[in-house]
């Protein structure tokens, strides 16, 4: 038992890492980036539907973390803080996009490419079916109203707790639960033909 303990590497919590980074340890920053970069890109991608833009937003989030590290106070979990930054930056990007009003064909084709990005080339009928279902679910999530979309992504894709989601979106816990439930029901309506 004691040997097991010795072999297990010590893992810092996110909050410990940010504290170390605030104290000047840049290695802690790199560790935080490694922990959150993929989670954040999946989160942001659900809003932007554009791989390059999503990556830019994640990079901006990490830059903000670097520049504003002293703004973090340990009254909230680090994850909720970083998700809030990413969400705000993604919203800013969406607002910019709306202002530009560019629903160009080239953009749509890029979207299509993004849908294919994580998928493996389907070989069997089952894989084709799964890929089709994934695309339909992605599209149904994307079609949800903004306040439903954010909470369902955070809950069912990012698997965050209700409390964390409540902190990130800054609405009461009961409202978060209600929104998630209603979003799930809305998805059933949109995906009726898939069943």
């Amino acid at each position: 038992m004691s040997l097991d303990k010795q072999n297990t590497p010590f893992v810092y919590t996110d909050e410990q890492l940010i504290a170390r980074f605030q104290a000047g340890d840049e290695g802690a920053y790199v560790e935080l980036v490694n922990r959150f970069r993929d989670r954040l890109i999946n989160f942001v991608f659900q809003f932007l539907r554009d791989w390059e833009q999503a990556e830019d937003v994640v990079q901006d989030t990490m830059l903000k973390l670097y520049e504003k590290k002293h703004y973090y106070r340990e009254i909230a979990k680090f994850s909720t803080w970083i998700y809030t930054i990413a969400r705000n930056l993604a919203n800013t990007e969406l607002r910019k996009r709306k202002r530009r009003k560019t629903t160009l064909l080239s953009h749509m084709t890029r979207d299509e490419r993004e849908y294919d990005l994580p998928a493996i080339q389907p070989e069997t009928g089952h894989e084709v079916q799964t890929e089709f279902a994934e695309k339909r679910i992605q599209a149904a999530i994307h079609a949800l109203p903004e306040h439903f979309k954010t909470v369902i992504i955070l809950r069912d894709i990012q698997e965050l707790s209700y409390d964390d989601i409540s902190s990130i979106v800054d609405v009461p816990l009961g409202t978060v639960k209600s929104r998630i439930n209603r979003a799930r029901l809305q998805l059933q309506v949109d995906l009726k033909d898939l069943r």
Binding site: I41, L63, L117, I157, K177, L185, Q188
Partner: protein, 181 residues
């Protein structure tokens, strides 16, 4: 017994095992009596699983390197002092020259408006307007005769000259009166 609205409100809590035991029993009783409701709960559960297993994207290779390069660039920018721009009384050269031009134009226009000559012209204009018998001190008005001659007092009428030279016509024979006939 719960109704349809209560059932829909409790679906997520039921799937996530957050219902109290009595509420759970009530919910399950509703499901047994409504096959369509049971099917809806199954569908929600399936979608939740599918969402959890959606393919996860990853950042592209070299993300960290690009991030660190950007940080380094920002840091260099902060360390390098901004190129000092010469200012004249707080103005940049372009603004200073524009400002100088404006000041010169203002001074020039002011001189034109308030010069002693300008005042004199204005005073004289006022003077002639008020006085019905002005003196002809203004050199520009000296050539103007303000007391024109009285044509009634003239000895000769120039119009008479013309009549003198013209031969008079006799129209007496051409004139006939009604009573003459």
């Amino acid at each position: 017994m719960i109704n349809r609205y209560q059932f829909e409100d409790l679906i997520s809590e039921y799937i996530e095992n957050e219902l109290s035991l009595p509420k759970r029993k009530e919910f399950e009783q509703y499901l047994e009596e409504n096959l369509e409701a049971k099917s809806l709960v199954d569908s929600v559960r399936t979608t939740m699983i599918q969402m959890k297993t959606l393919p996860k994207a990853k950042v592209s290779a070299g993300f960290n390197e690009r991030l660190m390069a950007t940080i380094q660039k920002d840091r260099d920018k902060l360390l390098t002092p901004a190129p000092s721009q010469k200012t004249y009384l707080g103005f940049t050269p372009i603004h200073a020259s524009l400002m100088t031009g404006l000041v010169i134009a203002f001074v020039f226009i002011s001189i034109q408006l308030f010069s002693p000559e300008g005042k004199m012209v204005n005073n004289q204009t006022q003077y002639y307007a008020d006085d019905p018998t002005p003196s002809l001190s203004n050199p520009s008005l000296k050539e103007v005769n303000l007391n024109p001659p009285d044509f009634a007092d003239l000895e000769e009428d120039s119009t008479l000259e013309e009549s003198k030279n013209k031969p008079k016509k006799d129209f007496s024979k051409q004139m006939h009166f009604v009573n003459d006939q």
